[in-house]
């Protein structure tokens, strides 16, 4: 079968990602929700993951959410990475999301 297998070690989900397709897009196409979906443009940091194994190419990502030193360690945004091999990923606890919870008083 064409494409690469992406395994999410946090949730146990597995899905196929076509060549040239972002990990987040492949996940959404399968109807999975194992990585949080934000802007899908590398801007908001919502879909941050840790790549534990495998190789990938990166598109442009906000330096605030994916600084070069983090990218080096495999901390990237799922909407802006394109697998070159099968990948094993893990969801990241997001400081931004903890912060967002305080946002609102609004939400409660």
């Amino acid at each position: 079968m064409a494409g690469f297998q992406v395994s999410n070690r946090t949730t146990g989900d597995r899905f196929t990602c076509q060549e040239g397709q972002s990990v987040l897009k492949a996940m959404e196409q399968r109807g999975l929700k194992c990585v949080p979906v934000g802007c899908r443009g590398g801007g908001c940091g919502f879909c941050k993951i840790q790549v534990l194994e495998g190789h990938f190419e990166c598109g442009k990502m906000s330096r605030r959410h994916a600084p070069p030193e983090a990218v080096e360690k495999g901390e990237v945004l799922a909407c802006r990475i394109y697998p070159l091999t099968d990948l094993i990923i893990e969801c990241m606890p997001l400081p931004e999301r903890t912060l967002a919870k305080q946002t609102t008083k609004l939400l409660r």
Binding site: C39, G41, C44, F46, S62, L99, T103, L106
Partner: protein, 307 residues
């Protein structure tokens, strides 16, 4: 407009990739590119606007909004408002004429929510795009995509809403049109206007300073909003939510993202405002309905995804 602030004039948006951004804002949204400067910034306008530009794109390594500018009636008002801001204790920065091409001097200041705003009196008047000012046709032919009519407003997320309100209302002469109050009576959202529109700028409470929720463009009809939704699918553009209606302002709307993750809105309709209108209040208990009138439920992405 009681102190001479007239209308939203421009917004400068940071994008990760200029080429993709230009295609999004012109090809999909229907803005017209009017210039580019030696810093590489790209100038755009919507067709019904009379000045040379309303949207400036700047390539950067982090998306978001650099500043939003309001046009004031004339230089005399600019001098007065600058003095009023300083007297109120707001630090102002002078941005010389031509720092943005064909724009006069700007007075820049940061409000307590952490957002930068500007006032200016002069910008090159180029007239509505594609139309004569004498016996004009109904609309210009040759528009692309959603054919956005005008840059309408921005929504910002940040703290210190009360202190931000004071600058806009007490110093700059804005009116409060709609608000959201929490059970303790604290204002957690404020929609402000200098015109008959239900908002020219809006703020929602958020702990982190200076966050950008969206830039909004006006369309004429609900049919135009549905057509915008079709175009979002045709171009595989990242959708946020809609088409739907807001409780707040009652506008009919759709939200999506530019290729760098900045949220955009196109909308039509909504309430109007005269200065004798009292503020409309929504309570946080009904926040779902206030934000999305049909779903009556919040979507976490809408509340928390920001640039």
């Amino acid at each position: 407009m009681k102190k001479g602030v007239m209308r939203p004039g421009h917004v400068q948006i940071r994008v990760l990739d200029m080429g993709e951004a230009i295609e999004h804002y012109t090809g999909l949204m229907g803005l017209i590119q009017t210039d580019r400067d030696d810093q590489g910034r790209v100038y755009l306008k919507a067709w019904s606007e009379v000045d040379k530009f309303s949207v400036v794109l700047r390539e950067a390594d982090e998306p978001g909004c650099d500043f939003m500018g309001f046009k004031v009636v004339d230089e005399e008002v600019l001098v007065q408002l600058e003095k009023d801001l300083v007297d109120y204790g707001v630090d102002v920065e002078q941005v010389p004429a031509e720092e943005l091409k064909d724009c006069g001097r700007r007075v820049r200041f940061t409000v307590p929510s952490g957002h930068a705003f500007e006032l200016y009196a002069d910008k090159l008047y180029t007239g509505k795009w594609g139309l004569s000012s004498v016996n004009p046709e109904a609309w210009p032919r040759g528009l692309r995509g959603m054919k956005a009519v005008r840059f309408d407003h921005c929504l910002f997320y940040g703290p210190e809403l009360a202190a931000t309100y004071d600058v806009f209302v007490n110093v700059l002469g804005f009116d409060l049109v709609e608000q959201v109050l929490d059970p303790e009576g604290t204002r957690v959202a404020q929609f402000l206007t200098v015109s008959m529109k239900e908002h020219d700028v809006a703020f929602i409470h958020h702990e982190e300073k200076g966050k950008f929720h969206h830039v909004s463009f006006h369309l004429e009809t609900w049919e135009d909003v549905l057509r915008a939704a079709d175009l979002i699918t045709m171009t595989d553009t990242s959708i946020d939510i809609g088409p739907t209606r807001h409780g707040l302002t009652h506008g009919k709307t759709i939200y999506f993202f530019d290729p760098s993750g900045n949220r955009n809105e196109v909308f039509c309709g909504g309430d109007y405002f005269y200065p004798d209108h009292k503020p409309v209040t929504w309570k946080t208990e009904e926040l779902g309905k206030a934000i999305f009138y049909h779903d009556r439920a919040l979507n976490e992405r809408f509340m928390t995804v920001l640039t």
